[in-house]
């Protein structure tokens, strides 16, 4: 894969991780779903370039990669915000105010489902069960869980992530 490394769109660390990932399983193709997710973590979404490189790394067509990627709800073909807020509104969260949490995020961020703030800091998504039912209502911001939320805790949470974004931006 030396030829590819020189043209990889991924960081050296991620490229090295992918080199190892294709050797991890009895079949190379088993690396596909994790690779798509890790690629998205780095690039932000599954761009044409991401799909092209992954297809090449696995040794399958780009169409095949798109077909698989389109099945999984966490994978996206468009950019999201730096912090993707995923609010669960499935039954257990709904019963304890999941929709109130969603509404509060909409109000505070001035965006709706699958929309991104103008500055690109936040996107918002209503999602299905995230496996935090006994600690409802729950959300995930990227991969971080926030359990037992209340609408009034939403502004503080947004501020905390804004601060994080500013600190990272300053570096």
């Amino acid at each position: 894969m030396t030829d590819q490394e020189s043209i990889s769109i991924f960081s050296p660390a991620t490229a090295a991780r992918f080199d190892a990932l294709v050797l991890k399983y009895p079949l190379k193709r088993s690396a596909l779903v994790p690779m798509l997710l890790y690629a998205q973590d780095e690039i932000g979404y599954l761009s044409d370039a991401v799909i092209a490189e992954i297809a090449q790394r696995i040794g399958i067509t780009q169409l095949d990669v798109r077909s698989v990627a389109s099945y999984y709800s966490m994978l996206r073909f468009k950019p999201a915000g730096r912090y993707n807020v995923q609010v669960c509104t499935n039954i257990c969260c709904m019963l304890r105010g999941g929709y109130d949490i969603l509404d509060r995020f909409k109000k505070e961020l001035h965006i709706g489902h699958k929309e991104t703030t103008a500055d690109g800091t936040f996107s918002l998504e209503e999602v299905e069960c995230i496996g935090a039912c006994s600690w409802a209502p729950a959300i995930q911001v990227n991969y971080d869980f926030h359990d037992e939320l209340k609408p009034d805790l939403v502004p503080g949470l947004i501020d905390a992530y804004r601060g994080k974004a500013a600190a990272k931006g300053a570096k």
Binding site: L37, Y72, S73, M74, N90, C92, M94, E128, G131
Partner: protein
């Protein structure tokens, strides 16, 4: 970090190391970990399977299939490699127990996986976690790396000359992948569309090899069965239902949480004593006893023991033991709508009864809840539901139809109260 709860009636077997720092391998060993697997190496595969059979342990994913019997179906001789597959996709709404196992006791999953591998003669185990559980995957990966370092995994585990490897895998968001054959498809890098059965996984599974697939809680229970002994484990539960279960209690109770109780523990006591009763001093309207796919029970139907057989006798299923409690301020039409909306979203679309059925039921119940329903819509929902049951390759079609049919049957009056432009009678703030 998810809050841990406790109640005096709990029998902490699977959860005994929760909150004890057992994600650290040395701490796990200090707390008695990795002793069961050593015993299994000494005793051999037939003994392990006999113990599992005698323990009465049944699959914690929801189907309740006897674990020892499942393992015994794997052929002893196989041209293709055999595999152990741990299902940590945990996606059934109301269920969050595996979440805590991965967080607090990842080595019990590793130890159980090795024991399953010894039992069926597999050299490789896979641990598949849903993609949303990234922080848990990282904990799991660290635990696996530590186990390799200690020589508990690899070419010569515990100096026995036996090889066993563990490979972790992440999903990327899909409820259906929790179905065993769909999970294998996903692990092979494909869309998570279920396979036609037979052949069953024990004969043709992952990469075409004989495969045992167990829920994460089942696997985490295995070392405890070995440590306690089958007889002692079986004695904890009820008839034909060995041991304990992690109950994920959610919804309108004062003290939601994951509680470990003996199989057969009374459902009414779970709600009113263990979970502290209905919140805000309200009344009980319904209980979803085993994850969102199980038919709801009415308040006069909950004086039952929570095991696979007793809940089935009451007309529902124990499923994943995700108990969702619904108070009397809740609109059951809205609840039914949100339930079917989930299944409609998750249907892969392969089987027409599921693809069309979930869509039409969602549309119809949405219309009813919005006040635009007509009398015939209610029977239409039932007709569509009945035409989905048993007519799909995987259980998703049934999972969508079963709760829906129960909602309509048990709360028909509430559906009728929404018809002909009437506003939702529960359209007040909770």
């Amino acid at each position: 970090m998810p809050r841990l709860v406790s109640h005096p009636d709990e029998v902490k077997i699977v959860s005994q190391r929760f909150g004890q720092g057992a994600a650290n391998i040395d701490r796990y060993i200090e707390l008695g970990g990795y002793q069961a697997v050593k015993k299994c190496i000494a005793q051999g595969p037939d003994w392990i399977i006999d113990e599992m059979k005698a323990s009465g342990l049944r699959g914690r994913g929801g189907a309740g299939f006897p674990t020892g019997m499942k393992w015994s179906f794997v052929p002893k001789q196989s041209a293709k490699p055999k595999y152990v597959l741990v299902n940590g996709d945990e996606s059934e709404p109301c269920t969050c127990k595996d979440h805590l196992i991965f967080l607090h006791d990842p080595h019990s999953i590793i130890e159980g996986t090795i024991i399953a591998g010894l039992a069926i003669g597999a050299k490789t185990g896979f641990i598949y976690l849903r993609g949303e559980y990234r922080y848990l995957i990282e904990i799991m990966e660290r635990a696996v790396a530590d186990a390799y370092q200690k020589g508990f995994l690899g070419k010569d585990i515990f100096g026995s000359g036996i090889e066993f490897q563990i490979i972790t895998q992440t999903g990327a968001g899909a409820y259906e992948v929790g179905e065993e054959s769909a999970l294998m498809e996903s692990l092979e890098g494909k869309r998570g569309v279920p396979r036609i059965k037979p052949p069953f996984p024990a004969v043709v599974g992952l990469y075409g090899g004989p495969t045992v697939i167990n829920n994460a809680e089942t696997i985490a229970t295995v070392p405890h069965v070995i440590t306690m002994g089958a007889a002692a484990f079986s004695a904890v539960g009820s008839a034909r239902n060995g041991g304990t279960r992690l109950f994920s209690i959610s919804g309108h109770v004062e003290k939601p949480g994951v509680y470990e109780l003996p199989m057969g523990y009374n459902l009414k006591k779970i709600i009113y004593e263990v979970a502290g009763g209905i919140w805000k001093g309200r009344g009980l309207k319904a209980v979803v006893p085993g994850g969102s796919s199980t038919p709801c029970l009415l308040p006069d139907e909950i004086d039952i023991g929570m095991d696979f057989d007793q809940v089935a006798k009451a007309g529902s299923m124990m499923g994943s033991a995700g108990v969702c409690v619904i108070d009397d301020h809740t609109c059951m039409v809205e609840f039914a709508q949100r339930t079917i909306a989930f299944y409609q979203h998750e249907s892969c679309g392969w089987c027409i009864p599921c693809r069309e059925g979930t869509d039409w039921i969602k549309k119809t119940i949405t219309r009813i809840h919005a006040g635009f329903g007509e009398a015939k819509d209610i029977d239409n929902v039932t007709t569509i539901g009945n035409n989905m049951l048993g007519r799909t390759f995987c259980p998703l079609g049934d999972a969508a139809a079963m709760p829906t049919l129960a909602f309509v049957k048990k709360f028909r009056k509430e559906f009728e109260d929404h018809l002909n432009g009437k506003p939702c009678p529960f359209a007040h703030k909770n």
